[in-house]
Amino acid sequence: MKLLEVRGVKLAVDGREILHGIDFEMEQGETVVVLGKNGAGKSSLAGVVMGIFGEDKNREKVAGKVIFNGKDMSKKSLDARAREGIFMSFQAPVEISGVNMMEMLWSALEERDRKALARREVEEKIAEAVRELGVDAFTAGREVNVGASGGERKKNEILQMMVLEPKLAILDEIDSGLDVDAAGKMSEVLAKYQEKTGVGYMIITHNMRILEKMKVDKVYMFDNGRVKRIGGREIIKEVERVGFLK
């Protein structure tokens, strides 16, 4: 069974079509990289898969199919998709004052698993992620992203992913805001986590550093709301050399 199948997806916002019929596929446990210029439609696809687009029926029209683990997601809400095992990291994660990371993840896990969890169980999951990610042990007790730097916010996103254990993680510019060393470390953490859990990654990036330690199974190049090319690492090398010219 494929992890993700996107069939003929179109997205229009305020009457303007942004995605013009995307076909996209991922196998279980694959890493698929999505490249393309700004505005090529990479984040829009991520938003359609996650279910962010289409909620505001007056403004957003989504057509086509999103099939995740053999299940049609098209009618499922954003949060229901998350509970099925789709995770998405944000380019610019919001601050949520008064709500700490621990509470948020605790609620998320309880709703997904439909059972009450002891504080200790949640704490253990977080402690493990904290160790692997090498972040401050107090992160979980802090209000979500409040006062956090860009780089810290990105690490917080990965921390949440590791606790929520999704089957598909869409990482949208997870490396922006990270310095060279931190990006290298993040690459290593992501590769290790994939090895351990078999998570599939859809990675949207402009910075190839994040891919350094990771396997890459497939590369999609997007242009102007369409898939322009599908291939392997050679596309990455080429983009690094000459940009998106070809």
């Binding site: 962010i52 004052s97 998320a108």
Partner: protein, 445 residues
């Protein structure tokens, strides 16, 4: 129920005084207050009080028992109400003293032996008025902070007050665990007018909790209690109050504290329920170096108009105040957060900050924030912030991408908004408040 007294008039006032067998000076205060009540007009601002008809309100509900010192002696029916609220259990586990008032009279009052031995005095107010050792103190302090002239409902309070608590913490005594008075309203179309008088002597320290509740009643009720708090030199008082009234209660309570040199007053307030609330606890920072902090939450649901806030008056030098109030409204409710920071001319280097934040949870509801500052000293540093907003869509969406349903995400954000207040409360009250928030959001509060 023949002994219940209806309406407000001289006959009723004299009857209450007689029932209590109180000294003459108290009756004189009552009668003087009644005169003020009769002459004074309704407040000319704030929520609509026309639904309140005092002639249909029982100003005194006859008690089913005298004040008891053990729960076993409290009549079964009354005890069951407090059992349900978990009061006897809470007393055993984590309170230094408990008072419980049922309608007009205290039914239970007890303090742990080891606390009593430190000289702490915790008495039903009406007993303190007549108590051999304390009647003089009560007479000296009663009505000193809040006068009958304050407004129509403080006048009413002084005319018909009944029940409440007297609490004295001696010099240097630190009461490690809280003392709580619980006010339960059960009678139909009645008023509750308890008087709370607390004196924390020099260098002493206390956390007092006031909790109020009432079952669902179909007719208008009135709560016009009065709280007078005296915080002496270097003393500290934390006054927490969770008021959860039925949805037809007019809650017109008056609370005031005076803080002497280097003393500290901390208010933690949760206002839930009631049809109309007008509550603005006031702190007078009289001594040099006196400090106050106020954190409060008000939640207005369907048919509710909660007009709340806090006031501070800086008189001493180097006095300091901080107020944080959070209002929430949904299902057509209206919430108003008011703050007043006054700095008198002699209050050199006073510092004050007031923050009023309101959150509107749906299109039908409204919220407002009115911060007021009056400064008469150039060395003062006073600032305020006010904001009225809606739940941020961006935050809701973020939580939902983590698998949290919209309903749970809203509850989480509301809890986050009120977290500042809940974290100031002992854990069981914080849980109770979070529970109230949840019930309010589900519209079953």
């Amino acid at each position: 129920m023949s002994a219940d007294l209806m309406g407000v008039n001289e006959k009723v006032v004299r009857k209450i005084s007689k029932l209590k067998d109180e000294p003459k000076w108290m009756l004189e205060i009552r009668l003087a207050a009644l005169k003020i009540y009769e002459e004074m007009s309704e407040p000319k601002w704030g929520p609509d009080l026309t639904g309140l008809d005092l002639s249909k309100i029982k100003t005194y509900v006859a008690p089913e028992t005298e004040v008891k010192r053990t729960w076993e002696d409290v009549p079964k029916k009354v005890r069951e109400t407090f059992d349900e609220l978990g009061i006897p259990e809470a007393e055993q586990e984590g309170l230094a003293g408990v008072g419980a008032q049922y309608d007009s009279e205290m039914v239970y009052h007890n303090i742990k032996k080891q606390i009593e031995k430190t000289g702490v005095v915790y008495l039903p107010f009406d007993e303190a008025v007549k108590d051999k050792s304390w009647k003089k103190v009560v007479r000296e302090y009663f009505g000193k902070l809040v006068s009958a002239n304050e407004h129509k409902y403080s006048a009413l309070h002084y005319a018909v007050h009944s029940g409440g608590t007297f609490l004295y913490i001696p010099k240097g005594v630190s009461v490690e665990i809280p003392i709580q008075s619980y006010y339960r309203f059960n009678a139909v179309s009645a008023g509750q007018f308890e008087h709370t008088l607390i004196i924390v002597d020099e260098g002493a320290d206390l956390h007092f909790i006031e909790a109020c509740s009432a079952p669902k009643l179909s007719v208008a009720n009135l709560h016009a209690g009065c709280v007078e708090l005296f915080v002496q030199k270097n003393a500290r008082l934390k006054f927490s109050s969770v008021e959860n009234w039925s949805k037809n209660m007019y809650n017109l309570n008056t609370k005031r504290a005076i803080v002497e040199e280097d003393g500290e007053m901390e208010w933690v307030t949760g206002n839930f329920g009631s049809k109309v609330s007008m509550i603005y606890p006031c702190t007078i920072l009289e001594g040099d170096g006196a400090r106050m902090e106020y954190t409060g939450v008000a939640f207005a649901g369907e048919g509710q108009d909660l007009d709340t806030g806090a006031k501070v008056i800086h008189i001493g030098k180097n006095t300091c105040s901080y107020m944080d109030m959070r209002g929430l409204s949904q299902a057509g409710g209206r919430v108003m957060s008011r703050s007043l920071v006054k700095v008198a001319s002699k209050a050199e280097n006073a510092k004050g900050f007031a923050d009023c934040k309101s959150l509107i949870l749906d299109e039908k509801s409204s919220a407002d924030a009115v911060p007021v500052i009056e400064v008469k000293n150039n060395t003062a540093e006073v600032a305020h912030e006010a904001s009225v907003g809606k739940l941020a869509e961006e935050q809701l969406r973020y939580l939902r991408t983590r698998g949290i349903s919209e309903k749970a995400a809203r509850a989480l954000l509301v809890r986050g908004f009120t977290e500042k207040t809940t974290k100031e409360l002992p854990v069981e009250y914080a849980m109770e408040m979070n529970n109230l928030l949840r019930l309010e959001m589900e519209g079953v509060g």
